[in-house]
C-alpha cells in the first residue's frame, strides 16, 4: 500500500484548477479592415506563447498583405511575421514569461504600408495543469490505483488466475529444442531505441530468455539495431548468466551491433540466420516493414519462431510466418508470465481490470451516444465519457 502513496500527487493535480491565464485583450478595429484583434496567453504551455486572433470586417477592402508587429522591451515596434489577411490566427512563441507584450497589425496596399490597426497586449504565463488532459489524468490515476492494489494483492499471496499464453509457454520448449539440436537461440529486440516502451519490455523478456539459455547451455545471439540497445542487452544478459551461476558461459561478442539502417539490419540479421541456422528465434519488440523479411527467413531455416509486437500492422505478418505470436498486450505480460512472481502477476490482473473499465466505457459511450439522439440526458453521459477519455 505504501507504493500507492506515490500516486497521490497525481490525484492532487486533478484538484488543482487552471492556472490564471495571461488575460484576454481585445480591440475593435475602428477604421481598420480588422474587425477585432485579440491577444491572449497561449493555453496549456510552459509559457512563452501568446495567441493572436483577428477577424476581418465585412465590406472593407482587404490588404495585399499585412505585417504583425510586436512592441519590444527596448521600446520599438518590430515586425515578427508577414501574414495573409484571411489567415485569422498566429501564435507568437519564445517570449519571456510574466512580461507584457503589445501587438499591432500594419496593412499593406499595393506595396505601401498604411496606418496600423489599434494595438492589443497580453502577458505569457506558464500553466500548472493541462486542461485538455484532466480527464485522462483522473482515469490514469484510477487505473494506477487498481494496478497497485492488485500488485499488493499478489504480494499478500492472493490467488490470481492468468490464462495460458501459448507463445510464452513455448519459450522453454524453444530453448530446449535449440539445445538438443546443438544450434543457437537468436533474440531480435526490434528496430527501435531504448526510448520505446516495446524495446524496454523486450529487454525484460530477454533477461528471462537469457536465464533459460544459461540453464540449458545454448549459445544466445542478439543482433541489435541500436547502440544503446546493444549496451543494455549486454548488461541484462550478463546479469542473467550471473544469476543462474553461469558467468563463464556469457559471451559478450554474441550481442552485437549491426547497423541503424532498417533494411541494412534486416539484411544483416537474415545473413546471420542463414549462416548460423538458429533453432529458435525470438522477435519481440517494435517492428516495421522488416518483420516479414525476418520472419520468412527464420522460417526458411527451420527455426521455431516466437514473435510479439504491439504494432497492429505487423501482427498479421508474424501470425502468418511464425509458430507463436504475442499480440499487443501479451508482449507486456510476458515478463510477469515467465517469472510467475505474484506481484508481477498482480499487475497483470490490474491491467485486465483497467481493460474491463475501458470496455465498459466504450459500450456505455456507444449506447448513450445512440440513445442521446432521441433522449437529451443520455448525450450528457456520452459527453462526460468523452471528456474522461480525451487527450489533447
Amino acid at each position: 500500500m505504501r507504493k500507492m502513496l506515490f500516486v497521490l500527487p497525481l490525484l492532487v493535480f486533478t484538484a488543482v484548477m487552471f492556472a490564471q491565464s495571461g488575460g484576454l485583450a481585445s480591440v475593435d478595429g475602428g477604421g481598420c479592415f480588422i474587425q477585432s484583434l485579440t491577444a491572449e496567453d497561449a493555453p496549456n504551455d510552459a509559457g512563452g506563447g501568446i495567441d493572436l486572433t483577428w477577424t476581418v470586417a465585412a465590406g472593407t477592402a482587404l490588404p495585399d498583405s499585412m505585417i504583425l508587429e510586436r512592441f519590444d522591451h527596448d521600446g520599438i515596434w518590430s515586425p515578427i511575421s508577414t501574414l495573409a489577411p484571411a489567415s485569422g490566427r498566429k501564435t507568437d512563441v519564445g517570449l519571456d514569461n510574466d512580461q507584457e507584450y503589445s501587438y499591432r497589425i500594419v496593412p499593406f496596399y499595393n506595396g505601401a504600408g498604411e496606418e496600423p490597426c489599434e494595438a492589443v497586449t497580453a502577458v505569457p504565463q506558464k500553466q500548472w495543469i493541462h486542461t485538455g488532459r484532466i480527464g485522462m489524468l483522473v482515469t490514469l490515476t484510477l487505473i494506477s490505483l487498481v494496478i497497485f492494489y492488485y500488485i499488493e494483492h499478489g504480494k499478500r499471496g492472493g490467488k490470481i488466475y492468468i490464462r495460458r499464453i501459448a507463445g510464452l509457454t513455448a519459450v522453454e520448449d524453444a530453448v530446449g529444442r535449440a539445445t538438443e539440436m546443438g544450434r543457437p537461440v537468436m533474440y531480435i529486440p526490434g528496430i527501435m531505441d531504448m526510448d520505446d516502451i516495446q524495446t524496454i519490455a523486450s529487454m525484460v523478456i530477454l533477461g528471462r530468455v537469457a536465464m533459460k539459455t544459461a540453464e540449458y547451455g545454448s549459445p544466445l545471439l542478439v543482433p541489435t539495431c541500436r547502440s544503446v540497445v546493444m549496451s543494455v542487452a549486454q548488461e541484462i544478459v550478463k546479469e542473467s548468466y550471473l544469476q543462474v551461476g553461469r558467468p563463464d558461459a556469457y559471451q559478450r561478442e554474441s550481442i552485437n551491433y549491426i547497423t541503424d539502417d532498417q533494411f541494412g539490419y534486416a539484411a544483416g540479421v537474415d545473413g546471420i540466420m542463414v549462416r548460423q541456422r538458429p533453432a529458435a528465434i525470438f522477435m519481440l519488440g517494435t517492428f516495421y516493414a522488416e518483420s516479414l523479411i525476418l520472419a520468412e527467413t527464420g522460417r526458411s531455416v527451420g527455426a521455431i519462431q516466437i514473435a510479439g509486437t504491439a504494432m497492429p500492422s505487423q501482427i498479421p505478418f508474424f501470425i502468418a510466418a511464425c509458430d507463436y505470436t504475442l499480440i499487443g498486450e501479451e508482449l507486456f505480460a510476458a515478463s510477469a508470465y515467465l517469472s510467475r512472481e505474484p506481484k508481477l502477476l498482480g499487475s497483470l490482473r490490474g491491467q485486465d481490470i483497467a481493460k474491463l473499465f475501458f470496455m465498459i466505457v466504450i459500450v456505455l459511450g456507444v449506447l448513450t451516444a445512440t440513445v442521446g439522439e432521441a433522449w437529451e440526458p443520455a448525450t450528457k453521459v456520452a459527453d462526460f465519457l468523452k471528456t474522461i477519455t480525451r487527450v489533447e
Partner: protein, 205 residues
C-alpha cells in the same frame, strides 16, 4: 546501493516524464531529459562502432567461419566514414554519391523482397484449413478485388464491401489491439517506475 541508485534514477526520470505530460510548466524538465537521452545515445554510437570493429577483426584474426565477409563490412564502414569526414555529407559529394548509388539501392532491394515474402506468407495464411482460415481467405479476396479496377467491373459493390471490411471489422480489431497494448504499456511503465519489475537490473526478487 547497487539496486537502489538505478531504481531511484528510473523513478525520478519516469515521474518527470509523466508530470510533464500533465503539467505544462514542467515541460522544460522533460525536454532536458530527452536531450540527455540524445547525448547518451550519441555517445553510444561509438560503442556500436567499436563493437562492430571488434567483432569483425576478431573473425578475421582467428579465421572464424565465414570470416571472408568481414573485410567487406570493415572496408565499407571505413570508406563511408572517410568520405563523410573528408568531403562532408552534403548533396553531390562523394558520401552522398555512395549513399545514393549503393546504400539506397541495396535497401530498396531488401524492401522489394517483401513482395515475394508476402506471396509465400499469404499462400500459407489463406489455406482454407478451417472455418476461420476460410473466413480470412474470403475477406482477403474481397479486399484485394475491391482495390483493383477489375473488382468494380465484376460488380460495382465489391469496392464498397472491401471498404466496409477495412473500416469496420478491421478497424475494430486494430483498435482493440491498440487499447490492450496501451494498458500493457501503462502497467509495464508503472512496474518499472516503481521498481516492481527489476529483473533487468539482475535483481528479480
Amino acid at each position: 546501493m547497487r539496486l537502489a541508485i538505478p531504481l531511484m534514477i528510473t523513478f525520478v526520470a519516469g515521474m518527470i516524464m509523466i508530470l510533464q505530460f500533465f503539467v505544462p510548466a514542467t515541460q522544460p524538465m522533460g525536454d532536458s531529459l530527452q536531450e540527455w537521452y540524445m547525448i547518451v545515445a550519441s555517445a553510444a554510437i561509438f560503442l556500436g562502432a567499436v563493437n562492430l570493429i571488434q567483432v569483425h577483426t576478431h573473425k578475421i584474426r582467428f579465421k572464424l567461419k565465414n570470416w571472408k565477409y568481414s573485410p567487406v563490412t570493415l572496408i565499407g564502414f571505413a570508406v563511408m566514414i572517410i568520405t563523410g569526414l573528408v568531403f562532408g555529407i552534403e548533396a553531390d559529394l562523394p558520401f552522398d554519391y555512395l549513399f545514393q548509388q549503393m546504400v539506397a539501392p541495396m535497401a530498396a532491394t531488401m524492401f522489394s523482397l517483401l513482395a515475394f515474402f508476402v506471396a509465400s506468407a499469404a499462400f500459407r495464411a489463406f489455406r482454407a484449413s478451417n472455418w476461420r482460415a476460410t473466413l480470412l481467405l474470403i475477406s482477403a479476396f474481397v479486399v484485394m478485388l475491391g482495390r483493383v479496377p477489375i473488382g468494380s467491373m465484376i460488380w460495382n459493390k465489391i469496392p464498397l464491401i472491401s471498404e466496409w471490411i477495412m473500416q469496420y471489422p478491421n478497424m475494430a480489431g486494430q483498435r482493440a489491439v491498440m487499447i490492450g497494448a496501451a494498458m500493457g504499456m501503462v502497467a509495464t511503465s508503472l512496474r518499472m517506475i516503481f521498481g516492481v519489475e527489476r529483473s533487468y537490473l539482475g535483481g528479480a526478487d
